[in-house]
């Protein structure tokens, strides 16, 4: 190992000496002296390079990270809250849409469904009856009144008819109750004059402000009922 190579190796990295360098040191006192000098210098350099570190630096670093990640956490929380709110909002809309949207295409379908749904509550032989006065009281909402009760009126009350308020009248019929619905004509369902299914049939009449729908079973003279309604009803506007 020549002197230059030895010096280069010692100066470049005093701490890691390979076998050749060690051998050179052991065989040559001058080289040993040089190596010791550089070791001493290197110690000095280490001391000089190790500048003092601010005492609280580690704590500052931890503090700053904690604050930063707290902020991050907070904004994440906010995002999560916003997402939950959106989901709730969409669910609300969906439920609203499902509950109040029209599942029936026209008035007739809805009227039949309504009658079928409530059929078990009304019996043709029921003894209850509603007076003309209380009927007309209820009719006031639709700005109309009846001159007579058209037959034996078993039941008269407001019903939700496809999302709008309607008056549901149940009369005693030939074999089963006859249902008459009075509802505002600003209905977004398609108007249908005549409709029927296997058991029931019905007619709709369109007045200025209201539709009157008559639903009864196939034995019932629906046409007659309709005429009776037509004759007896008086619209106040």
């Amino acid at each position: 190992m020549d002197d230059l190579q030895f010096r280069r190796s010692i100066l470049a990295d005093p701490k890691s000496r390979d076998d050749a360098t060690n051998a050179a040191i052991n065989n040559d006192p001058a080289k040993q002296k040089f190596a010791n000098e550089i070791d001493a210098l290197n110690n000095e350099i280490s001391k000089a390079v190790n500048v003092s570190v601010p005492d609280d630096l580690a704590n500052k670093l931890i503090l700053r990270q904690t604050l930063a990640s707290h902020q991050q956490h907070k904004s994440k929380k906010r995002v999560r809250l916003a997402m939950a709110a959106s989901v709730a909002f969409v669910m609300g809309l969906t439920i609203n849409f499902m509950m109040f949207s029209n599942t029936y295409k026209n008035l007739g379908d809805y009227a039949i469904a309504h009658v079928n749904h409530e059929a078990k509550h009304f019996s043709n032989d029921a003894t209850a009856s509603v007076s003309l006065a209380s009927l007309n009281e209820k009719m006031a909402l639709f700005h109309g009144s009846f001159d007579s009760t058209l037959g034996k009126l078993l039941f008269a009350d407001y019903c939700r008819f496809s999302g709008s308020n309607s008056l549901h009248l149940v009369f005693q019929g030939e074999s089963s109750p006859v249902n008459i619905f009075i509802l505002p004509s600003d209905e977004d369902m398609e108007f249908i004059a005549n409709f029927a299914n296997e058991k029931l049939q019905g007619n709709s009449l369109n007045f200025n402000q209201s539709n009157i729908i008559v639903v009864g079973d196939k034995n019932e003279p629906i046409q007659q009922w309709q005429e009776r309604v037509n004759k007896n009803i008086t619209w106040s506007i």
Binding site: R7, R8, L11, A12, D13, P14, S16, E37, I38, L41, N42, E44, I45, S46, K47, A48, V49, N50, V51, V53, P54, L57, A58, K60, L61, I62, R64, Q65, T66, A68, S69
Partner: protein
Amino acid sequence: MATKQVRYEALVKALHADLYRYGYWLCHDKHIAEDLVQETFLRAWRALDSLKDEKAAKSWLITILRRENARRFERKRFEMSEYEEATITDVMATSSEQDIENHWLRDKIAKLPEEYREPLVLQVIGGFSGEEIASMLSLNKNTVMTRLFRARNQLKEAVDNEPTLRGLQNG
């Protein structure tokens, strides 16, 4: 979350001093060095999951710090003359004889050309091998060894040539 926090705190405690010293020798300013270390650890926190090998943590952090330092110059390009560097390092508090000697040597280290000083600091503070320094600085190993040799050689010459001044300061 908790384990990440624990890892982070361990990392800070183990390496902040070396990182601060390295930063100090890069920019010669205590406050900038502190800012650099803060930025570095903040970035390290965000990317902590990508650090798989804890042994590589030191060189990983040093790489982040070097990039932060380079970014500092992209943001705001201000000139630092050799003269300023020397005066800034002069501010070090000196209390004992040992410190005075260190101070003198510190001055010499600060006056080394940047490309010699950086590998030297990495080797002395970081304890990195020639290969590791070469990969961190994107140089080849022979270049690094040559620079390390020149850095120490210059310091040795400085020590040999200025015994009177040192004596004066020590006295």
